[in-house]
């Protein structure tokens, strides 16, 4: 009853409002004057990150990349949590029998978010490797031990380490899935905390998981012993993207009361998830350790560097279900695994990176790294130091690293990308020349606007190759 009284009061204030409107209206008719209230719109601006991964701080406390470490496979398929940054990168050029072409990308990133992390992170490394993580107790105990280690010096800045994490292990996972058809682009980005159990990289049997996106070793081939760590043959199952034909979800303004219903409807309706990918992956060549046996320098002075290996010889076969239409596809895939503690800072301004399947069966990996060095930072010059390198992989799997002097990667034309806050000019046509290999390639994008508008937005798309060789591949442009 009192409840109702409260409503009385509120309704009455409405009433007052109405009454006084009338009064004012009368006063206005008497005195014939008007006033025009205006609404002010606020403009909100946000800044864009200038490096690929924004301005994450790099820290000396993460494990550094060292030249004497030898990348060992399949052991190093695993996650390396004491490094700051790591990714597993799959790209595919796919086609159907009737000639439809697709570009598919699936990537899992890992970030170590603990600023001064490594002691506990190392302890977590084991936990990270197992799917059935029991991270909590371990990280707890390790945190305690680290607390006792460093409690002497600088309590406050290291404080974050003393406090046990009971939910996650300080790792953050980010998954990207992207499919380019001739007309459409489907993209989805996911995040998850490490140690919770829904995102991990498992070594044995090999599996890369974030939520229901799974890439794992094919069950039939899993055996005991070293074999079971194998990455291939494997299965990739990813369902992602918002159906382009369903747009009612993007409502301007607040969601009305009925929106909940429409949402659930959408969720139940087939085709809400736009793309379902199911691919069987197998290889027809060896893994390639990039750079110097997996030690890949990104600048001439090697201050930016990473561990980096690839598998460019992937055969993919399976189905793509796009908005309810299932098509059988086959094609070539490329896998990259890279981990480092040196790339996620403001010095690494971005790169232009290519993975190309050439028509003669050879493969080419090439990139241009844009880096800022200290003197540039101070002078605030906009020109960056550019480091160029390439790996030429012959059909038989022998790899040759092409030094900077012998390779030229030149932007030919620019495309304006209008996604995100402001238009950006991105070089999407390139010329790659490696005279000693008789390579002179003209790279053209598969289609326009292959932009992943994610938290760290970047260009990732399929390219077509002309010139000395034909073929197709993928191009990634970051830092634009």
């Amino acid at each position: 009853m009192t409840d109702q009284l409260r409503r009385v009061n509120t309704t009455f204030s409405r009433f007052n409002a109405n009454l006084f409107l009338v009064l004012v209206a009368i006063c206005f008719t008497l005195s014939a004057c008007t006033e025009n209230p205006k609404d002010e719109n606020e403009a909100l601006g946000t800044s864009t990150p200038n490096g690929f991964f924004g301005n994450m701080q790099s820290s000396d406390s993460f494990t550094p990349v060292q030249r004497d470490y030898i990348v060992e496979l399949p052991h190093d398929h695993k996650s390396h949590p004491d490094f700051q940054l790591e990714w597993w990168y799959l790209t595919f050029v796919l086609s159907t029998e009737d000639g439809q072409e697709f570009g598919l990308q699936y990537t899992l990133f890992r970030f170590n978010t603990e600023l001064n992390a490594p002691v506990s992170a190392k302890a977590n490394a084991n936990a990270e490797n197992s799917a059935e993580v029991n991270a909590k107790s371990k990280s707890e105990s390790s945190a305690k031990s680290s607390a006792s280690h460093s409690s002497e010096n600088n309590l406050h800045t290291n404080a974050n380490n003393h406090i046990a994490r009971n939910w996650s292990n300080g790792q953050q996972w980010m998954g990207h899935a992207s499919l380019h058809t001739a007309e459409q682009h489907y993209f989805e980005e996911r995040f998850a905390s490490g140690g919770v159990g829904n995102a991990y990289v498992n070594q044995q049997p090999f599996a890369i998981v974030i939520d229901d996106w799974v890439w794992k070793a094919a069950q039939a081939k899993v055996q005991s012993g070293a074999e079971s760590k194998a990455m291939f043959p494997s299965m990739l199952k990813v369902a992602f993207g918002q159906s382009s034909t369903h747009h009612p979800v993007k409502i301007n303004g607040k969601i009305p009361a009925t929106a909940a219903d429409s949402l659930s409807e959408l969720n139940d309706a087939p085709g809400v998830i736009a793309v379902k990918v199911s691919l069987n992956l197998d290889t027809y060549g060896p893994f390639i350790k990039q750079g110097d046996n997996g030690y890949s320098k990104k600048t001439q002075d090697e201050r930016l560097r990473s561990y980096y290996y690839s598998q460019p010889f992937i055969n993919a076969k399976g189905t793509l279900n796009i908005e309810g239409n299932s098509v059988k596809v086959t094609g070539k895939g490329w896998f990259d695994h890279e981990w480092t503690s040196h790339l996620a800072n403001s010095e690494a301004m971005g790169w232009d990176w290519f993975s190309l399947h050439l028509g003669d069966g050879s493969k080419l990996m090439a990139f241009r790294m844009h880096a800022m060095n200290k003197s540039m930072k101070n002078s605030k010059s906009k020109h960056s130091e550019i480091f160029t390198t390439a790996s030429y992989i012959a059909e038989n799997g022998t790899k040759e690293t092409i030094e900077q002097v012998n390779v030229s990667i030149t932007p030919m034309s620019y495309e304006t990308i209008n996604e995100g806050e402001s238009p950006r000019s991105v070089p999407t046509a390139w010329r790659i020349q490696i005279p000693e290999k008789d390579i002179d390639l003209s790279i053209r994008p598969f289609k326009e606007n292959q932009w992943n508008n994610s938290l760290f937005p970047y260009y990732e798309g399929r390219v077509e190759i002309k010139g000395s060789h034909s073929g197709s591949g993928f191009m990634e442009l970051t830092g634009y």
């Binding site: 009853m1 009192t2 109702q4 009284l5 409503r7 009385v8 509120t10 309704t11 009455f12 204030s13 409405r14 009433f15 007052n16 409002a17 109405n18 006084f20 409107l21 009338v22 009064l23 209206a25 009368i26 006063c27 206005f28 004057c33 006033e35 209230p37 606020e42 909100l44 800044s47 301005n55 600023l115 909590k136 309590l155 800045t157 974050n160 003393h162 406090i163 046990a164 994490r165 009971n166 939910w167 996650s168 953050q172 993209f187 989805e188 995040f191 919770v196 159990g197 939520d211 229901d212 799974v214 918002q242 979800v249 993007k250 607040k254 969601i255 009361a257 219903d261 949402l263 659930s264």
Partner: protein
């Protein structure tokens, strides 16, 4: 040319200096108007932003998945399992209470919920694409990335965040930094709070969560919570794993366990559940059940805000007020300009004679006005800003308590506001100066004296009759709120016109009756007749203000009477208990431990009425959308019968009707429903879709303690399985479905929706689960009839017993239950207090309107006295004392006001009637009897006359009824 202009301008300014009152008056008016304008602009901006905030879909705890068994808990691996199975719309949350205080002092402590949310999935693109952040994209995106950021480097964030919040530090040495989000409203409530403590144990400083929380203001966070990432939530001693071999964790045990573990610097806090970003279907739920192996339930809380358009109405109110202020200002300006130009006339003529062109003269005049504007607008704006910031906390609390809405301190573009104010003011000033200039130039040109063509009394009578007839006819056509309001306007305007028509006639009539032996008095009356035509505007303003005043006051008074009477009768029990305990516990309790007392619960269900039809008519299929109603239980004992207030009863035979009601042969419906359906007594309602209520627990409710008491603090859940069943069958809700025959119609003030009273025994009696869900959380407690006499009427004993009863109930139901026990009187008092508080606003507006009228009167009087100076000097020459002249003038105006006040009374009453029977009826679907209270009307009249007479004293005091012939310029 420019020089001439400058010279003219300086001479004008010199004149202003000579007579500073008029320019000052103009400037005051400008200051006043701008202060009002800026205040309203700011407040409206604040309300808009607040409303935006509230409507913005932040993290709604709309749909939550929890284990069906309250003792079971979800684990972290349950969460991982579900997400891996594709339930990516689920987000884990955990919560516990923390206390915030100022410097750790206890009196200032408030308890907030620390809400840990797995922010990771929310960062993903699906969440963004679903439109959850559509309007607030930046806000929530920024907020989220802020949350997931490492707290150490928030400096960048501080730049981006529009509004910085507070930093809360826990009482411990070693700590870690956590980023949190806090709702603007919650932030507004916190003042000096800087210390964060565990809620359960304030004394022991055992820091198992030694965090320093930097809470930033974002509407993404729900109210009364600090939203942090779940990762930070489970840090330090706060664990998700229960190391002890499993205690059955219901709430009190959890608390106890928390306390135990706190001693070991550890606290086990289980997951509270999973937020479903999109509601899950039944299929999904059963899938989840198979995956987890435990039954789960989905709790959907209705997030439809009762607030609705309330800030809207508040804004209308404000605009109305500022409109009034503007009108006041314009009245003042208009009259001041009149006065100023009138006094300057001789000088202006001299200027013209000096050869200054008309154009330059008018440009100079406008420039002078511009100077006034430029001087006074900043002052006005400053006052406006001050007023707004002074009012903000007040308004803030008003918003919170009345509307349950948010008000934030707005950011306003200063330059824009200034420009806006300047343009508006200058334009209206120029227009008004033109009006007075034209008037003046008319005065300068010689016009043949117009013959006064006064209407004959017969004509006046005829016209008024016609007008009244027209009004009555128009009233019949009122069919909606808008038309009702239009009718109010029409009524006011018509009555205004009638007053103007009648004033000359009445004053003439008066002249006839005043004996000529009293010459001065006779002159007063006769002159008033003359005045009545010149003071039209002022009289109109006064009349409208008074009519509205009388109308509003009478309406409010009637409403207060009706409400009080209704409440007094309806609240039959001496105690009312508001609780969140399930019904079965309370029911068992009453039989066990409180023998002399009887407990009657209030049960509630929902339904939809498709239509109503008289019995004999064939059932007609109507296409009208169903009217949703709440179905409430009504006790069938004698107390209930006494308490029942009915407007309308079949055959006017309460006893028969009551018997039929108790037998389930009919129901009572409220006025609202009757109006909405056009249902008559004896009609039968077609009701379908009777179901259990959805949870009415929105996160934004219960902001201040008093409102908390009103809203039932029920953790009502609709079990999905049962919910779907019960929506199809009525048998769950009712033991015996009553006949839906309308036996009586009862008043239900303040309710906007339809309601049906159904006898309590008709509700389901056997299934305790359903009864729990029917239970609204309100319980009437009254003594058994035999000892009733002892309890009622003894207030002391009542209070004494209340404490005892409260103790008893607490001990019976468990300390953790929310129990609020109110005595009948307390409920009545709170209700009436709330009532009165609301109408303070009305009083303020009333006084404002009266002041407008008063000021208008005063200024027009000043102008008039200049005109009648000649007559006054004749009076003085005849030997009438100065005091007498003044008194006579005063009497003149007062008489004018008095006559219009007399005329205003009937129109005011009529207005009140229209408010109640038309506006109220159509806007809210309920009416109440109009009660005429002579005291209310007389006080309105008295007050308005008092205000006017006070205002009149000012110019009259200054008046010098003698003429300095050297100054006099004959025009």
């Amino acid at each position: 040319m420019l020089r001439t202009l400058l010279l003219t301008l300086s001479s004008l300014l010199a004149m202003a200096k000579q007579r500073p009152w008029e320019p000052l008056l103009i400037m005051t008016a400008i200051v006043l108007a701008n202060a009002g304008l800026v205040t309203v602009l700011l407040i409206n901006e604040g309300a808009t932003q607040g409303e935006l905030l509230q409507s913005k879909q932040g993290l709604t705890l709309g749909s939550i998945i929890t284990p069906a068994d309250s003792r079971a808990r979800f684990t972290q691996s349950d969460y991982a399992t579900l997400r891996k199975q594709g339930f990516t719309q689920l987000v884990a949350i955990a919560e516990r209470n923390v206390t915030l205080s100022c410097n750790g002092s206890e009196p200032t402590a408030t308890t907030l919920t620390l809400l840990g949310v797995d922010t990771q999935p929310l960062l993903g693109s699906t969440f963004g694409a679903r439109g959850f952040e559509a309007p607030a994209q930046n806000d929530s995106a920024v907020s989220l990335s802020y949350l997931s950021q490492n707290a150490g480097k928030s400096s960048e964030m501080e730049n981006r965040q529009t509004s910085a919040g507070i930093v809360l530090r826990s009482n411990s040495g070693v700590d870690f930094a956590v980023n949190g989000l806090i709702h603007p409203l919650t932030n507004a409530k916190l003042t000096c709070h800087d210390t964060l403590n565990e809620a359960d144990k304030k004394s022991a400083p055992s820091p198992y969560w030694p965090a320093t929380v930097s809470a930033y203001v974002s509407s993404f966070a729900p109210q009364n919570t600090i939203l942090i990432s779940i990762d930070e939530f489970y840090r330090g001693g706060v664990t998700i794993r229960n190391d002890k071999p499993v205690l059955p964790v219901n709430l009190d045990n959890a608390k106890r366990a928390q306390e135990n573990q706190a001693k070991q610097h550890k606290a086990y806090v289980p997951l509270s559940g999973f937020i479903a970003l999109s509601p899950l279907s039944q299929q999904h739920l059963s899938q989840i059940e198979t995956l987890l192996g435990i039954p789960v339930k989905q709790t959907t809380s209705n997030t439809d805000n009762d607030t609705g358009s309330l800030p809207d109405s508040f804004r209308l109110n404000l605009w109305a007020m500022s409109g009034l202020m503007g009108v006041v200002a314009l009245f003042i300006v208009l009259n001041a300009l009149n006065l100023m130009y009138r006094t300057r006339l001789p000088n202006i003529i001299r200027l013209r004679q000096l050869g200054i062109s008309q154009r330059i003269l008018s440009v100079a005049l406008f420039t002078e006005l511009l100077v006034y504007c430029v001087i006074s607008i900043p002052i006005g704006m400053f006052i406006g800003f001050q007023a707004a910031s002074w009012l903000s906390p007040v308004i803030n609390s008003t918003f919170t308590s009345l509307f349950n809405a948010v008000f934030v301190n707005p950011d306003v573009n200063l330059l824009f506001t200034f420009g806006f104010a300047l343009t508006t003011t200058l334009i209206s000033l120029v227009v008004f100066s033109l009006v007075s200039i034209i008037k003046l130039s008319n005065a300068l040109t010689v016009a043949p004296a117009k013959k006064e063509n006064a209407l004959g009394q017969f004509a006046v009578g005829l016209i008024s009759l016609c007008a009244l007839l027209l009004l009555f006819i128009a009233e019949k056509f009122v069919s909606s709120t808008a038309s009702a309001l239009f009718f109010v306007a029409l009524l006011l305007l018509t009555s205004c016109a009638l007053v103007l028509l009648w004033l000359p006639t009445l004053s003439k009539l008066l002249t006839r009756f005043v004996p000529k032996q009293w010459p001065v008095f006779h002159y007063v009356i006769a002159n008033m007749h003359l005045l009545s035509s010149k003071t039209r505007l002022a009289v109109c303003a006064f009349f409208i203000a008074l009519t509205a005043n009388i109308g509003m006051n009478t309406m409010t008074d009637s409403f207060r009477d009706a409400t009080e009477q209704w409440l007094t009768q309806r609240l039959y029990a001496p105690f009312y208990l508001y609780t969140d305990a399930p019904l079965r516990r309370i029911e068992t309790l009453s039989t066990k431990s409180l023998p002399p007392l009887v407990l009657t619960p209030l049960l509630k269900a929902e339904g939809a009425v498709i239509g109503s039809h008289a019995q004999e008519e064939t059932h007609e299929v109507s296409n009208r959308p169903p009217t949703y109603v709440s179905i409430s239980s009504y006790p069938v004992h004698q107390n209930g019968k006494k308490a029942l207030v009915l407007d309308d009863v079949i055959n006017n035979d309460l006893n028969t009707v009551w018997r039929e009601f108790t037998e389930g042969k009919g129901v009572f419906i409220n006025q609202q429903l009757a109006f909405a359906l056009n249902a008559k007594l004896g009609h039968t309602l077609d009701i379908e879709n009777i179901r259990l209520r959805k949870t009415a627990n929105s996160s934004s409710s219960a902001v201040n303690p008093s409102s908390e008491a009103y809203s039932s603090p029920q953790e009502k859940t609709t079990d999905p399985t049962q919910g779907s069943q019960s929506s199809s069958s009525n048998s769950n809700v009712f033991a015996a479905t009553p006949q839906w025959k309308v036996l009586g119609i009862y008043p239900d003030y303040g309710n906007l929706n339809g309601q049906i009273l159904v006898p309590l025994p008709s509700f389901n009696r056997n299934n305790p689960l359903i009864r729990d869900q029917l239970f609204s959380g309100v319980m009437a407690i009254y003594p058994e009839p035999s000892i009733e006499a002892n309890v009622i009427g003894d207030n002391k004993q009542n209070a004494y017993r209340k404490n005892i009863l409260e103790q008893q109930l607490k001990s019976q139901l468990g300390e953790h239950r929310d129990i609020a026990l109110y005595t009948r009187q307390a409920l009545l008092n709170t209700s009436m207090q709330t009532f009165d508080r609301t109408f303070i606003l009305t009083d303020g507006l009333n006084i404002t309107t009266l002041l407008v009228a008063g000021v208008a009167f005063a200024v027009s009087l000043t102008v008039l006295t200049i005109g009648s100076a000649a007559q006054l000097s004749v009076l003085r020459a005849l030997g009438v004392s100065q005091l007498k002249v003044k008194a006579s003038l005063f009497a003149q105006y007062l008489l004018l006001c008095f006559i219009s006040a007399l005329l205003a009374i009937p129109f005011g009453v009529y207005l009140a009637y229209v408010f109640i029977q038309q506006v109220n009826r159509h806007a809210f679907n309920w009416v109440y009897p109009l009660s005429l209270n002579a005291q209310v009307i007389l006080s309105s009249v008295g007050l308005s006359l008092l205000i006017v007479s006070l205002v009149l004293l000012l110019p009259l005091g200054k008046l010098k009824p003698k003429i300095d012939l050297r100054q006099e310029v004959q025009l």
